[in-house]
């Protein structure tokens, strides 16, 4: 574990890392753009000055209209999922909990697929997000109800309940696909996760909710530490455990739903990132949250960039993270069964 004095260095390193990742990945793709030109265009846009005339005139369009919205959305969704993972793990006292293993992602996907197939647009652009949120929250309550005894959640029953509920939901999603007819390809493509053709409004909405969730989680971060001691103890230390738990589970489900409604189901980011970061920062949520938020952005952005620009043909991002994250989950689960940490 990192010495406390090294923590600021870690955060500075991760901030540099995410900025560098954004700049480098923006240059990568079908049209290769030199890093210097990318930085020049981004800086010009931020400061409002005109783009250097020596830069190819196509580049600013490719960078600001095509690549940056996708890249920023990927980074923000990665951060959002990592924050949700930290919150779920802290509240459920379980390093195996994340939006995906608990079935919350599936619930959000079910809700969103329902909105898509029924062409629900009564609330404009928010319809899919709202249905995803409703699906996520209902799934969370169903899973917690199935697995809890006296407000305690054992790892195995929690995972098992997640599996059961996710299985039912996936059958539901299958039925929706069956009903969807010609729209089926839209749903399938979306379910596997993708950042293709994301817009600045996607960046805006994910950023808004990620910042909100992060701020709220930081506000309650010390309470989250105390809550890891169990309900009775945290109550006795002056934490309103029941209320804090409700608030945190709701916002974690909300950010999951927003991420799913924007990018489809992307698994394991919320599991792996908090887990890896905990090795470095220790379990203190005040340190774990910022580190996970930044690292989640970096990881998902690299995953998307590899899929978009390096692999010969684009692999759906949800498939890629599951292929890498699944075995990692097996490893953690086995370690836990063996009594390791």
């Amino acid at each position: 574990m990192l010495k406390p004095t090294c923590y600021p260095i870690l955060i500075v390193g991760l901030v540099i890392g995410i900025i560098a990742t954004i700049v480098v990945s923006t240059g990568m793709g079908y049209i290769h753009i030199p890093v210097g030109d990318v930085a020049g265009v981004i800086l010009a846009k931020i400061t409002g000055s005109s783009v250097d005339s020596s830069i190819n005139q196509l580049y600013p369009v490719v960078i600001t209209d095509v690549r940056l919205p996708r890249i920023l959305t990927a980074a923000i969704v990665g951060s959002g999922l990592a924050i949700a993972g930290v919150i779920f793990q802290a509240i459920l006292l379980n390093p195996l909990a994340d939006p995906y293993t608990l079935g919350v992602s599936s619930g959000a996907a079910f809700g969103a697929a329902l909105a898509l197939v029924m062409n629900i647009s009564m609330l404009g652009n928010f319809s899919v997000g709202l249905f995803a949120f409703a699906g996520a929250v209902m799934t969370l309550f169903a899973v917690l109800y199935l697995s809890s005894v006296d407000g305690r959640y054992s790892s195995n029953t929690l995972i098992l309940s997640g599996v059961i509920v996710a299985a039912i939901l996936s059958a539901g999603i299958g039925f929706i696909k069956h009903l969807a007819d010609e729209q089926v390809s839209v749903i399938i493509f979306w379910l596997m996760g993708s950042f293709a053709s994301k817009t600045w409004s996607d960046v805006g909405i994910t950023l808004l909710f990620s910042v909100f969730t992060f701020a709220l989680a930081m506000f309650y971060s010390r309470d989250l530490n105390i809550m890891s001691l169990g309900v009775r103890t945290s109550d006795s230390l002056g934490v309103d455990t029941v209320r804090t738990r409700k608030i945190m589970l709701t916002v974690a489900s909300l950010i999951t739903a927003i991420c799913v409604s924007v990018s489809g189901v992307i698994g394991f980011i919320g599991l792996i990132i908090p887990h890896l970061m905990r090795f470095i920062t220790g379990p203190d949520n005040r340190k774990l949250l910022p580190a996970s938020c930044l690292a989640g952005g970096i990881l998902l952005l690299w995953a998307d960039t590899i899929s978009r620009a390096i692999l010969p043909s684009e692999v759906p991002i949800g498939v890629l993270t599951a292929l890498v994250g699944g075995p990692f989950f097996c490893y953690i689960f086995r370690q836990k069964q063996l009594g390791g940490k």
């Binding site: 506000f219 890891s228 001691l229 169990g230 009775r232 103890t233 006795s236 230390l237 002056g238 309103d240």
Partner: protein
């Protein structure tokens, strides 16, 4: 007569449809070491939860320092009452020092760091419980006895008027149990304060407590000093066992001897 610390009036308490405590009346005074004894299911833990404010009575009132408990702010209450639970609740790799420092939580404002005073309190308590050398170890890697001392240290770091021990040493070896009760007893003797401990072992209760509260099926069967409560007749009535009770000079305490066959 000083004002009572706790006063419980006509308390009934239920989990779902099962009533655990029935019309219970009890008064607790300051600077006293209370032992709560009684068979399993007699309502010991429920009574402790009631005193902590974490369980609400279905009938009656609990007053703490003359104010109804439900009117207390939870954070203020955490500066007055601390809990040592039976289970550890160590799910993550916090260090011993971080864990003990959590006891200062109610005293530290939300976005503030612990002050030098907070850290000094934590260091002193760790030294008192003999876990100073372990301060950088992970709590998940400690032995049972060490873990329990960390939990006691955390509760003492809260610096409260009242300390509640819920079967705090039931899972420990005898030498660890004795050590923990000695530390708590010494603190009460030197610094004042009230301890309310649910204790399984009647001889432990008799040796350390000033007053015994004997519970039977959700009611108080008897209260008073050990020699007046832990009598052969009283224990026969509540536990259905045959025993003798006497002052043991070696133990320097009132003790109970059981008839095993």
């Amino acid at each position: 007569m000083t004002m009572p610390l706790f006063s419980l009036t006509d308390i009934s308490c239920a989990y779902g449809s099962t009533e655990v405590l029935h019309d219970l009346n009890l008064t607790l005074k300051i600077n006293t070491f209370y032992g709560l004894v009684g068979p399993n299911g007699s309502g010991k833990t429920t009574l402790l939860d009631l005193l902590m404010g974490s369980h609400k009575p279905s009938k009656g009132t609990v007053c703490f320092q003359s104010t109804e408990l439900r009117k207390w702010d939870q954070r203020q209450l955490a500066k007055e009452i601390a809990l040592v639970p039976q289970e550890f609740g160590f799910n993550f790799d916090f260090t011993v020092k971080e864990m003990v420092l959590m006891g200062r939580h109610p005293h530290i404002p939300r976005f503030a760091n612990p002050t030098a005073e907070d850290l000094a309190i934590v260091d002193n308590i760790m030294a008192e419980l003999g876990i100073g050398d372990l301060q950088n170890r992970f709590v998940t890697q400690l032995s049972g006895g060490e873990k329990q001392r960390v939990i006691v240290a955390r509760a003492l770091a809260q610096q409260t008027e009242v300390l509640v021990l819920d079967e705090a040493t039931s899972n420990l070896d005898i030498h660890h149990s004795i050590h923990i009760f000695q530390v708590v007893k010494n603190r009460v003797a030197t610094k004042g304060g009230t301890v309310i401990a649910a204790i399984h072992d009647l001889n432990f209760a008799a040796a350390f407590c000033d007053e015994i509260i004997l519970l039977e099926q959700g009611k108080v069967a008897a209260t008073g000093p050990p020699e007046t409560v832990l009598t052969p007749e009283g224990l026969k009535a509540v536990f259905g066992i045959s025993c003798q009770s006497y002052f043991n000079e070696f133990s320097n305490a009132y003790q109970v001897a059981y008839q095993y066959a």
